[in-house]
């Protein structure tokens, strides 16, 4: 698919990746390459392995890589800790952001941002400087300052949680962002805010993987490639019109591809 000449090196290369949890195979040979500036969408039924793929790229300890490699900026990261992956520029936007009672959102964001800055040899920010930075980023997701003094994600509405994820992405300025169903549970206004946030943060140097069920996010952010996953494999890859076709014909249509392969 990606046979055309690329001017730069890929950000992320997933090569024939198989993985399991509790000895149950979930991924069965997934390959995916993301170059700078590209937006990839991954679609597929619930349980097809989309979320697992995103968690494995981020380094979730519950999954074991049984075969294949994940390369980030040319380096194999199979054995890196999740925090090392984050610091070096991999971002996972959670489908269900986790609540952390008692830990203030502001402090969490500051520690997280400083961990990334430290990796980039940038000066770590004290509370005051960080306040300045975060104020600016809050604009992107149209969040109120009051969110910062609450505990991480605790008592946030679905939409607030997702916006908090995009706020983190804005602060961390990742090389690649994998957004796992960031659009689910959002009303139309919130979806627009989130989509425009993603567009503002990404640029020609970053790669984005959108995991989604719906066309409506892809209307806002047009992907370069659409991949369809089923039973732990990518069964079809196309351009943005594949998503439209999928919307029209449903996943049953994709079952034919499995029979073909």
């Amino acid at each position: 698919m990606q046979s055309k000449m690329k001017e730069s090196d890929p950000i992320l290369e997933v090569e024939n990746l198989s993985a399991s949890t509790d000895n149950l195979p979930i991924l069965k040979g997934v390959s995916l390459t993301v170059y700078p500036g590209e937006i990839h969408a991954i679609m597929g039924r619930n349980g097809c392995g989309k979320s697992t793929l995103s968690k494995i790229i981020a380094g979730h300890p519950s999954y074991k890589i049984t075969n294949g490699d994940i390369k980030f900026l040319g380096e194999n990261i199979n054995s890196l800790e999740p925090e090392e992956r984050s610091q070096s520029g991999i971002f996972l936007g959670f489908q269900y952001p986790i609540e952390i009672p008692g830990v203030s959102n502001l402090e969490f964001l500051r520690v997280s941002t400083n961990a990334r800055r430290k990796f980039l040899n940038k000066e770590e920010l004290d509370t005051f400087d960080f306040e300045e930075l975060v104020k600016e980023k809050l604009e992107i997701v149209k969040m109120d300052h009051a969110f910062l003094s609450r505990s991480v994600n605790q008592g946030f509405s679905g939409g607030e949680k997702k916006r908090n994820e995009i706020l983190q992405m804005a602060l961390l300025e990742p090389k690649i962002a994998i957004l796992d169903e960031t659009d689910s549970g959002l009303d139309i206004d919130a979806l627009r805010i989130v989509a425009s946030g993603i567009k503002k943060i990404s640029n020609a140097q970053t790669g984005i993987i959108l995991i989604t069920h719906y066309q409506r996010l892809l209307d806002e952010i047009k992907p370069n490639y659409v991949h369809v996953m089923s039973d732990g494999q990518i069964i079809k890859t196309g351009e943005s019109d594949l998503a439209l076709e999928l919307e029209e014909k449903g996943y049953e249509w994709t079952d034919n591809f499995i029979k073909e392969t």
């Binding site: 981020a58 380094g59 979730h60 300890p61 519950s62 800790e81 999740p82 925090e83 992956r85 984050s86 610091q87 996972l92 959670f94 952001p97 986790i98 609540e99 952390i100 009672p101 008692g102 830990v103 203030s104 402090e107 969490f108 520690v111 997280s112 961990a115 990334r116 990796f119 505990s151 983190q168 961390l172």
Partner: protein
């Protein structure tokens, strides 16, 4: 699970204060008898009333049985195998800090409690207790200008015998319990605080307890009296060297608050907890109790318990005065094979009395952490209220947490509220923080401090920072 192992690594934090000071000490022979008690009393040149107090307590103790109701398991203590008096040898009368053995000053320096004039902490007056005796008390003159008495209890016995005779044993009588009786018989030193009427103590007062010798017990006694409309904030810190034997620490603390007086008593306890196999460590059997004698008086306990092999401790309030207030804020962290049975008793006797209990227990490793509390509303406690909140956090899958709340109400016109929760640091929470670049250890310690925040907010500023650091130290593997 990968993370289970990581948690185990992370919670293995070496004890920083385990050094022994090599100093010549004066010890008496092992064992406990009337003669030993007379010897201690004589060494301390005590008046007769105090010797009688000790001997009576000893007689009661001999008839009592060691309590076994706590959720604790340990080998029987041989009370004849303990040295009941141990003091560093120094000149008989010390008139200034310059005459204190430099080794002792150095010891407290190393513990972060500098005592010398040049280095002493600026906003806190410190009474430093080494084994059985008080070494030095800073800022005495400054405090005296305000009429505040802050000295070792031995000095108070000599210089303020009337106050001692009037109040000693009135909150925790010698017959109260086994360990209180033992303490009453053999206590060697401790701190004494007296805040006169209408005085707000100009600085925090602090005692620092250091157990140095391995075979002697520490039995300190603290007495704090706050006269009408006075207030004081008192801090207590503790450490001990690492020995492979268990050392007994049985202290008694009595607080008395008169009309409109308030006492805030904060503890950061970091006795040596024993090693990973549970060898050694301090047995901490402590009776702490405050009496809100006066109207609108207030006694507030806050404690951060991180050390000791065994903790048996229930700082309590007797709410006698009308509209008096009792508070208990506690964080208890246990790791490896540590055991803690801690909590409070709020005894509402007077009308319109109020109490608040916030307890946070964190258990890691194979440790056992129990909250045990009693809220009692007496027949006259009309319009009284209690609120209790007991939360437990488990780290790993080998630790255990218990909550034993006892409620006794003889007063229908009073309110008792109790909330309890148990949580576990979940793999998903850790992964979430890690996936944002936060190191595993920092993630655990962030969540633990988040869990304890309600209690840390109650601690005096310097202490809150220290407590946070201490918990992080206990949980992080990176700092040696």
């Amino acid at each position: 699970m990968v993370n289970e192992n990581l948690v185990k690594d992370v919670v293995k934090e070496p004890y920083k204060y385990g050094f022994v000071t090599d100093i010549e000490t004066e010890k008496i022979e092992k064992g406990l008898s009337e003669d030993i008690i007379k010897l201690i009393s004589k060494k301390k040149e005590e008046p007769k009333f105090l010797l009688d107090f000790r001997l009576k307590a000893f007689q009661k103790w001999q008839k009592m049985k060691e309590p076994d109701w706590a959720a604790l398991g340990y080998n029987k203590i041989d009370y004849q195998d303990i040295i009941y008096y141990s003091a560093p040898k120094q000149k008989e009368k010390i008139s200034s800090l310059d005459e204190v053995d430099p080794k002792l000053l150095e010891t407290f320096d190393k513990l972060g409690i500098p005592l010398t004039e040049q280095k002493k902490l600026t906003n806190v007056a410190v009474d430093a207790v080494f084994d059985s005796v008080s070494i030095a008390t800073t800022f005495r003159e400054e405090l005296a200008e305000h009429g505040v008495i802050f000295c070792s209890i031995s000095e108070a016995v000599k210089n303020h015998a009337d106050l001692i005779e009037k109040y000693l044993g009135t909150v925790v009588p010698a017959s109260d319990n086994y360990f209180a009786a033992l303490n009453s018989a053999v206590f060697s030193d401790g701190s004494f605080v007296y805040i006169p009427k209408g005085v707000t103590c100009p600085m925090d007062l602090s005692s620092y307890f250091r157990i140095n010798s391995g075979d002697s017990g520490q039995f300190e006694r603290t007495l704090i009296i706050a006269e009408e409309s006075s207030s004081v904030s008192y801090l207590e810190g503790c450490t001990a060297p690492m020995f492979d034997t268990n050392t007994l620490h049985a202290a008694v603390v009595e607080l008395i608050a008169l009309d409109d007086a308030s006492i805030k008593y904060s503890t950061v306890q970091n006795w040596y907890a024993g090693d990973e196999e549970g060898i050694g460590g301090i047995f901490n059997f402590v009776t702490k109790r405050g009496k809100c004698l006066g109207k609108r008086s207030k006694i507030s306990w806050s404690q951060v318990e991180t050390g000791s092999a065994i903790t048996w401790k229930y700082p309590s309030c007797i709410l006698l005065g009308e509209e008096s207030v009792g508070e208990f804020y506690s964080v208890a962290l246990t790791n490896n094979l540590q055991q803690a049975d801690t909590g409070t008793k709020m005894i509402h006797i007077g009308p319109k009395t109020k109490s608040t209990i916030v307890s946070k227990g964190i258990s890691a490793g194979n440790s056992k952490n129990s909250y045990r509390g009693l809220v009692k509303m007496g027949t006259k406690a009309t319009g009284s209220r209690n609120y209790s909140q007991c939360d437990s956090m488990l780290i790993g899958d080998q630790a255990s947490a218990n909550t034993f709340p006892y409620i006794k109400s003889q007063q229908p016109n009073s309110e008792i509220e109790h909330e309890a929760s148990t949580c576990r640091i979940s793999e998903d929470q850790l992964f979430y923080l890690q996936s944002r670049g936060i190191e595993f250890e920092e993630a655990v310690s962030m969540m633990v401090s988040g869990f304890c925040r309600d209690v840390f907010n109650q601690l005096p500023m310097e202490f809150a920072a220290e407590a946070d650091k201490l918990l992080a130290l206990k949980l992080e593997g990176s700092v040696g």
